[in-house]
């Protein structure tokens, strides 16, 4: 339980009108909260109210984030946030639909939906809070865990290479792709803002290392030390091709920035064009 004096302080959050603070269950030092407030700030800045958007999440630590928004918010099943969001968008193309979920949810159990949504260029924004591990379920290896890393299920070191989410998203057809450290809220907000305006599939990878499950096992210090460890590896690049967006803890290089920003007709727009064409042929 949070002591009442601290609770008062928390409830006095500057964004309290837009957030359900009682649903913040995240560990101290975790950057998920930062991502939530960054999204919220963007929505406010764009003048969007809750009838203009919906938030969808899957399962896991970030899976619990949808409930933190005062919005139509959906906590779906493991891996299925993207198809749920696709349904919302197709049924009401006016909605800005934001998927906020973790790396395990989006790229292991939900990997198939991710690549197909990107291929379709459905007009949604997917934010992946990447902590390189399954945080909530006890720190098991994820498809984003780096080779050699110690996790609950790789006590002798991870044997599998990780996905590079940026190049994966770009190769699958996403029309906006970016990667930012979760603490860099200015750049992150600007990027979220752009992704919401993109009339296609947008993907932002947010780096948010989990010091409880990942840092402790890999002896990376406490939350602040771990962020400092990550910060030293971050290189922000412009005009870097997505397949060169290195994310390598061993080499100590993490390339951040915008990697794809292009225009391609979105899926719901195409569906509307087909519908209009069919109906006008019929009325002739």
């Amino acid at each position: 339980m949070i002591p009442s004096d601290q609770l008062e302080e928390i409830l006095d959050h500057p964004l309290k009108d837009r957030l359900n603070l009682h649903r913040f269950i995240f560990c101290p030092g975790c950057l998920i909260g930062t991502v939530i407030t960054s999204i919220t700030s963007c929505l406010i800045e764009k003048g969007l109210t809750s009838k203009d958007y919906a938030i969808v999440s899957g399962i896991g630590c970030t899976g619990r984030s949808s409930g933190c928004f005062k919005a139509p918010a959906f906590h779906t099943t493991h891996g299925r946030a993207i198809p749920f969001a696709t349904g919302l968008k197709l049924a009401n193309p006016r909605l800005k639909v934001i998927v906020l979920s973790g790396d395990g949810d989006l790229f292991a159990i939900g990997g198939n939906h991710f690549i197909h949504a990107a291929r379709r260029n459905i007009e949604i924004t997917v934010l992946c809070v990447n902590n390189n591990v399954y945080g909530m379920t006890g720190g098991q290896v994820a498809p984003t865990t780096h080779i050699g890393d110690i996790t609950q299920t790789t006590p002798y070191g991870n044997m599998e290479p990780p996905f590079n989410l940026v190049s994966l998203a770009a190769a699958a057809g996403a029309t906006y792709v970016a990667r930012w450290p979760g603490y860099d809220t200015l750049r992150l907000q600007k990027s979220i803002s752009k992704s919401i305006s993109n009339e296609g599939f947008s993907f932002i990878e947010v780096l948010a290392p989990c010091f409880i499950q990942y840092g402790t096992k890999n002896k990376l210090g406490d939350a602040v030390e771990m962020l400092e460890w990550m910060r030293k590896q971050i290189r922000i690049k412009t005009d870097c091709p997505p397949h060169e967006a290195t994310f390598d803890f061993k080499k100590g290089v993490i390339i951040c920035g915008e990697f794809v920003d292009e225009e391609r007709e979105g899926f719901s727009k195409r569906l509307k064009q087909i519908r209009d064409k069919v109906q006008s042929n019929k009325s002739k």
Binding site: S50, P72, F74, F84
Partner: protein, 336 residues
């Protein structure tokens, strides 16, 4: 549907897999549309988890399953009735679901309309359990004009007071807000209180599961539907459903011509199981119920719960061809 829906302002999407199909439908349902998806046995297995999500989010949705037999890939394009338990128990957890069983192509049309109405009214996934024969055959169908459509119950309070699972009525069904309106709400597949907050205390769990089940079982008399003949004077009745019920009337008539008092019941809805029909059969003084189904015995186990009222025997064969009138006649002659 891919051809027709765009003509009537609808949307058809072929998703990447069944998990995506059903979840996409749930999303669209929560944006206010009526949605459906169709599949067959293995596809329904893949949809199983999100049938549970539909139950938990109380999201209207119609699922058509064309039973083909299994296990596994089984007998594609053939007919079967072996997914009767799958329609009832596909997802994990305690829940009730509505399942309808068409016998003809006409009923595919009629019961799909009914499925949408039930899904909207009870805020639940509804399954239309058809089979490989009805799914592929051609029969005359009469389209209705002036179809009575049911719309889901909307929020009953203003946005600032709205809780997504708060119940005001005896039917135990909360008013449903959708995205794109002034309503804020959080719905979760986690066990939740009426505000939508994840809460796994025993009190909340019991209260939620009880309400989700009761809202369906209490409405049994309105949901359940069947066709019956010669029940009033029958000593033995045949109970069948779906494609396999089509040979029953002829067989029963032949047996009656031999002077035996037989009748039949054809179930048009399977779940919730029509307990009230069984009690009625018991009250009529019928001595035996012969369950006829194209599986190794599924609905018969439900009927056996009423063995204190009448004897139960079965013609339960997991075949892909419906029982002919001649075959049913021969079997019935052994029962009389």
């Amino acid at each position: 549907m891919s051809r027709r829906l765009p003509e009537v302002n609808g949307t058809f999407v072929q998703m990447e897999d069944e998990l995506a199909s059903i979840t996409c439908c749930l999303g669209a349902s929560y944006a206010g549309l009526k949605t459906m998806t169709a599949t067959s046995g293995p596809g329904l297995s893949l949809m199983a988890e999100n049938i549970g999500l539909g139950v938990m989010l109380e999201s209207p949705l119609v699922i058509v399953t064309i039973m083909r037999g299994g296990p596994s890939t089984g007998q594609p394009t053939n007919a079967s009735q072996s997914d009767i338990y799958q329609t009832r128990y596909a997802s994990h957890g305690d829940y009730e679901i509505i399942v309808l069983a068409p016998s003809t192509v006409q009923e595919m049309y009629d019961l799909t309309i009914r499925a949408f109405n039930l899904a909207e009214k009870y805020r639940t996934p509804v399954i239309v359990a058809s089979d490989g024969i009805i799914g592929q055959m051609m029969e005359p169908v009469f389209y209705h004009s002036n179809i009575k459509l049911v719309e889901r119950k909307g929020p009953q309070v203003l946005p600032e007071k709205y809780k997504p699972f708060e119940v005001f009525d005896d039917d135990l069904i909360p008013g449903m807000a959708v995205a794109g309106t002034d309503y804020n709400f959080y719905v979760s597949g986690l066990t939740h209180d009426e505000e939508g907050n994840p809460d796994s205390t025993p009190e909340t769990a019991v209260k939620l599961i009880k309400r989700l089940c009761d809202k369906i079982t209490r409405a049994r008399s309105e949901i359940n539907d069947w066709e019956e003949k010669y029940i009033d004077d029958a000593d033995i009745i045949v109970l069948a459903y779906g494609i396999n019920a089509r040979g029953v009337p002829e067989a029963v008539d032949q047996v009656r011509q031999e002077g035996y008092k037989v009748g039949y019941v054809r179930l048009k809805s399977l779940w919730p199981f029509p307990d009230e029909l069984m009690e009625k059969i018991g009250r009529q003084g019928i001595s035996k119920v012969v369950v006829s189904e194209m599986n190794y015995g599924m609905i018969i186990r439900e009927v056996q719960r009423f063995q204190h009222l009448f004897k139960v025997s079965g013609i339960t064969i997991p075949t892909t061809i419906p029982f002919s009138p001649k075959f049913i006649y021969k079997r019935l002659m052994k029962e009389v």
